[in-house]
């Protein structure tokens, strides 16, 4: 069995005041493993300890108790950090730089050669759909554009572990869908992804396993399919059934039937279809 990429053992964080007196315990003993190639979702409402966990894993905070390991090393280890891509909850990028300069700056922090930075930047700018704005300063970017560039900087070093804190925050539905597709592509490429979000649909679509935190405590952890499966129910899908067929189904099911209704398209899929159709044909002049 491969070694976990991320590992915490009884990881605890208590924030203190200036005099060192405990103020609030943001994370109660947390023990979890994230394995290579896995997309792991960290869920929880605001203030549940998700971001604190990420900061502990990145060495931005020191734990009050327990241990954390990233690639088997301490979180602050520079070699470990060299293999991590991180997108914070908000996009903290310098507004006086343009997209290329931003990626070059972060590339240099990883000691990447200039030629490699150039080729990776071109590739990532195209990937996140910012080719048209690559020379524009970030001060002129919309929130969504800055978010896309934030995602690009997280991938500049071709990381083995990608930590995404609310990656779809500020993105329109198309952008959100692209991010989800990107996460799936990262998984296919063998990358490990730690996804932190309170948008449950996003997590459900892409994660292999999830952990649910509440008030700093781990409430549940496991495979998405296992956690969401309702063993005492079954779903039957029929293609354009006639009234007679439906009547027969109702009769056969008897009291165990919970309901019969046409399936609903998911709003996200519907939105994407409408936009795709609108993009495919020019707008008709209004009468």
């Amino acid at each position: 069995m491969p070694d976990p990429v991320l590992q915490t053992k009884g990881l605890t964080k208590t924030y203190t005041d200036f005099w060192g007196r405990p103020r609030v315990t943001a994370l109660k003993p947390l023990t979890l493993d994230v394995m290579p190639g896995e997309v792991f979702g960290l869920l929880g409402p605001n203030g549940s300890g998700k971001t604190t966990t990420i900061k502990l894993l990145l060495g931005l905070l020191r734990p009050t108790g327990g241990d954390a390991f990233v690639f088997g090393r301490d979180p602050g280890d520079r070699e470990a950090k060299g293999r991590i891509g991180y997108l914070p909850e908000e996009t903290y990028l310098y507004k006086f730089l343009d997209a290329e300069e931003t990626l070059a700056f972060f590339g240099r922090l990883f000691a990447m050669p200039a030629a490699l930075i150039k080729s990776r930047s071109d590739e990532l700018i195209q990937l996140v759909g910012l080719s048209h704005a690559r020379k524009r300063r970030l001060g002129e970017y919309s929130k969504g554009m800055a978010r896309r560039l934030g995602l690009a900087q997280a991938l500049i070093n071709d990381p083995s572990l990608v930590i995404l804190d609310e990656p779809t925050s500020g993105l329109d539905p198309l952008g959100s869908a692209e991010v989800k597709e990107l996460i799936v592509r990262l998984k296919r490429a063998g990358k490990t992804v730690l996804l932190c979000s309170h948008l449950l649909a996003d997590v459900e679509d892409v994660c292999d396993r999830i952990a649910i935190l509440h008030q700093g405590t781990l409430r549940e952890m496991g495979r998405v399919d296992d956690l969401l499966r309702a063993d005492d129910r079954s779903m039957v899908e029929l293609n354009a059934p006639s009234a007679e067929v439906l009547a027969a189904v109702r009769a056969a099911a008897g009291d165990s039937l919970l309901g019969v209704a046409p399936p609903r398209e998911r709003l996200e899929a519907h939105f994407r279809r409408i936009i795709a159709e609108a993009s495919a044909k020019p707008p008709e002049p209004k009468a």
Binding site: L58, P88, Y92, F96, L97, F105, R108, L109, A111
Partner: protein, 441 residues
Amino acid sequence: MRTLLWGIGAVAAVTVREAMRQRLWILFLVAGVVVMVAGFRLGAVDPSARLKLAVVTITAAIGFVVVLLSILTGSGMLRRDLDGRYAFLLFAKPLPRLGYLLGRLTGVLGVLLVGIISLSALGSAMVAWRFEQTPRMLDVAVPFDWQELSSLGEAVPVTEGRKRVALSGAPGNGVRWSLSGLPTSNLPDGGLDVLLRVQVRGADAGVNIEDCLATVTAAPGAGARIGERRVLPLDVASPYGRGADDSQAGDGQVMLRHRDTTRTDYNQDWMRLKLPAELIASDGSTTIELTRLENRATVTVSKADSLVVAQPGGSLFANLVRGGLVLLASAAMLCAFTLLLGVVSKLGVVLLGGLTLFFAGNVVWTIADTLEYEKVSVPVRRLLEAAIAILPDFDRFTVAARLAASQAVPWSAVAGAWAYYGIFTAFFMALAGLALRRKEL
């Protein structure tokens, strides 16, 4: 180490880029305008004084910009990164926190260097244009030993601690200086300049005499091995040294004139003689003697600066840049100090702290003066002594006065300034690195 260096380079480059895009160059522009206006508007009694004022103004403009930006720029960016949470992203990368601080410091110094070079070039051009000449900068060597000569030719070493020698009584007495380390090749035409400045008073009280005949001779070598002595010729462009009507004072003689110690321009206030190459020994040593020839005047010779040997010290531009590098050393220290404060406190405290250090460091000499006052109580004395011991002295390397006096700023002065302020800079950076490392984000 490679990651550290790349990180420092990346942060330094982004610091320079930010400074330029945030239009900090406007400050350089304002300073440049001040230099230009001052060059044309400053009034003084004569062109020489106007030239000095212009040079002082250029140096002051450079100093002002350097101090202001060193306090504001690095610490402002650091606080923005911490308060605006940019640090989350930066320190999630393999960038050591000390590397970040070093990058900020290097970037600020890079910006200041650009400013120093620009203002030096502008200032030199303004001086050349306005005054149709630039001051002749001189690099000087001072004697390592001096002796008093009696009228009978007897040489007596001047005791340590004695700062001046008054020559009076029977004529024929004088002073002998020994110098070493002089260049022996590629000398200017006619040789090196020997600059001499003494005070001359009437031997009898109430008699107004301000000149005295003397001879100045030199011989190659120093100490026991001294070669043949020869009279030093007066430079044709020497500001004084001749007799009445600007005629030759006498065969092999010069006319000393009173020049008090407040006059500091090598080109205006020192008599200039020529020291030919044959009077310098192959090891760069020479011995120079001043012999007083009249008993009607008392000639006072100062140990510190009555005699120096000068050679061309480069262009005004080169000296302004070197002077700027001296200022840059103190700016590096100020920047490091404000970075330290920036890690542990808010921007207001940072600015206050930076300015406090600057002002305190500029009055170290007054603290030393206070200590010489007898009535200082013991606790106050201890406090002042501690202040002198720990405060960096911003007056230690006087650049403006030196440049205004046509004295070159040698590379050794630059190295000395960086060695002195570098210790403080390293100390503050080490503390800042430790504090940032312990800081939770």
